[in-house]
């Protein structure tokens, strides 16, 4: 493998400090991480540990106080459509229909090269991928939370991003809907071969979906505590895995890190 495919996203010595009224607050410190092309990486840790801060840095929504972030050997200097983000609260524009929400993204990326019919076809294809063809002309207020999150995923995927960034995408959903969307995400990622970085606080979600789990220590000054490679074969089936000893082993390792070694959130804060 060339160095570009093994180090598609490269995070070097990143530190993030926020200015607050009580003085500077160090959220992240000494973060070093590389993500290979086509890899699925989960960031896990207790709330307030800076997972989302790190994701925002990769997205380019914020710039680090120190250190550099590279994507395909180029410095990340701002947000861009090659790094699509699925937000935790879906962030659909409520005055646009599902179709229009996705079309906004399609138009931005492909309008220069393609005609209206092609753009429309892309939008329809993205909605079809998440199974929402029937709801295309509905507004976000008229569909369920799970459907909204799927539109958010369609909006991200339609841009054909090099990197898909997911910020607790299923956090606000009920357990059954979450499981269904996780399975869909697994299928979609298997088809598109996307590089994915996903923030989560759900141990099962992390083990089921990812190739590597990046476990973060508690903030302030959070950093990467441990990285766990999940060598479960794909395609993964949640029912079969529920009894697999390997699966339970990985699950135990993450829980051990989160609750035994990093369990004292209140004391630390």
């Amino acid at each position: 493998m060339s160095s570009l495919t093994t180090k598609y996203i490269e995070i070097q010595g990143v530190e993030q400090t926020f200015k607050t009224k009580k003085g500077p607050f160090c959220a992240l410190q000494n973060i070093n991480l590389t993500v290979a092309k086509g890899e699925f990486v989960a960031l896990i840790g207790h709330s307030g540990c800076g997972k989302s801060t790190l994701l925002n840095l990769i997205a380019g929504l914020t710039t680090p106080t120190q250190g550099t972030l590279l994507c395909a050997n180029r410095e990340i200097s701002g947000p861009g459509p090659e790094r699509a983000v699925v937000f935790q609260n879906h962030s659909l524009l409520p005055w646009l229909t599902c179709f229009e929400n996705v079309y906004l993204a399609v138009e931005r990326v492909f309008a220069a090269k393609e005609n209206k019919a092609q753009l429309k076809a892309r939008t329809d294809a993205a909605l079809a991928m998440v199974g929402l063809t029937a709801a295309a002309q509905k507004r976000p207020g008229e569909i369920s939370g799970g459907m909204k999150q799927r539109v958010g995923i369609a909006r991200a995927l339609c841009m054909e991003p090099k990197v898909l960034l997911l910020d607790e995408p299923f956090g606000a959903l009920d357990a059954l809907t979450r499981a269904k969307l996780q399975d869909e995400l697994l299928q979609i990622v298997a088809t598109t071969q996307s590089t994915v970085v996903m923030v989560t606080h759900d141990v099962d979600e992390a083990v089921l979906l990812s190739d590597r789990i990046v476990m973060m220590t508690n903030g302030p000054s959070a950093t990467i505590g441990e990285v766990l490679s999940v060598a479960l074969p794909r395609p993964r089936d949640r029912v079969a895995l529920a009894e697999s000893s390997e699966y339970l082993h990985y699950r135990k390792a993450v829980i051990d890190f989160l609750y035994t070694r990093q369990g004292h959130v209140e004391k630390a804060a």
Partner: protein, 305 residues
Amino acid sequence: MVSAVFHSPLEPLVAPAAAQQVAAAAPADTSTPSQRDKEKASTPFDWRGAWMAFLPPLLGLGLLVGIWEMVSVGTARSIPSPLETWKQALVLFSDPFYSKGPNDQGVGWNVLSSLQRVAFGFGMAALVGIPVGFMIGRFEFLSRMFNPLISLMRPVSPLAWLPIGLLVFKGANPAAIWTIFICSIWPMIINTAVGVQRVPQDYMNVARVLNLSEWKIVTKILFPAVLPYMLTGVRLAVGTAWLVIVAAEMLTGGVGIGFWVWDEWNNLNVKNIIIAIFVIGIVGLVLEFALIKLATAFTFEEVKS
């Protein structure tokens, strides 16, 4: 709320269409099929709902008329009775659009000229206030720059600006419009600015991730997100403008509902003054209602809460 208590044999004759709708909408889970057929045949009518919808407002109006009558009797009819006023109103509204020179025109013309002034003054306030509000909301520097000015000017009664208007525009009509402009512009600026400041960061993050152009940000995100706030500003502005125009016209004269009130006071025609009060109230109510309807049509789920 279909209740069997209020069944009456007359119902099918009274309101068959309405009752049928009620029966169709009622699930009637507990009743057997035969009972349901019976209910459909006897078509229950929602008497309690109808009562609550009409009786209290009617009583309220009745109370007003009663007190009015008592005051009328108490002042030995120097305040005219409701019945006399009603008769006068019928005469007035039988010909609302006559014109016998500038000081004697029908009530319709008076209302329309007042509305026209409000429309001009408010329209200009919107043309200036909405863009200014957008700028103040978007740039903190401008917000800090204009906040002291707005805080200083806003509490001033718009009528205090009337002499300045008369001096600058050298005419009663533009001065009245100027007063309306001044009183309408503050709610427009403030609400638009607040709306822009409160556009959820999530939407702006979407704009940044999608790398939207400034034009797309304004048309697809900022404008729709600010619209409900802006329409609240419009509603407040039009409400205040309608209050102020009456007072302004009393001072400036000409044709207009405010001037008409003052003219009828000079004629000691109290009946017309009372009619004018009702007309002003009803027009204000209609304006408010229309603008609320408009605002709800443009308010979306997320922005509502």
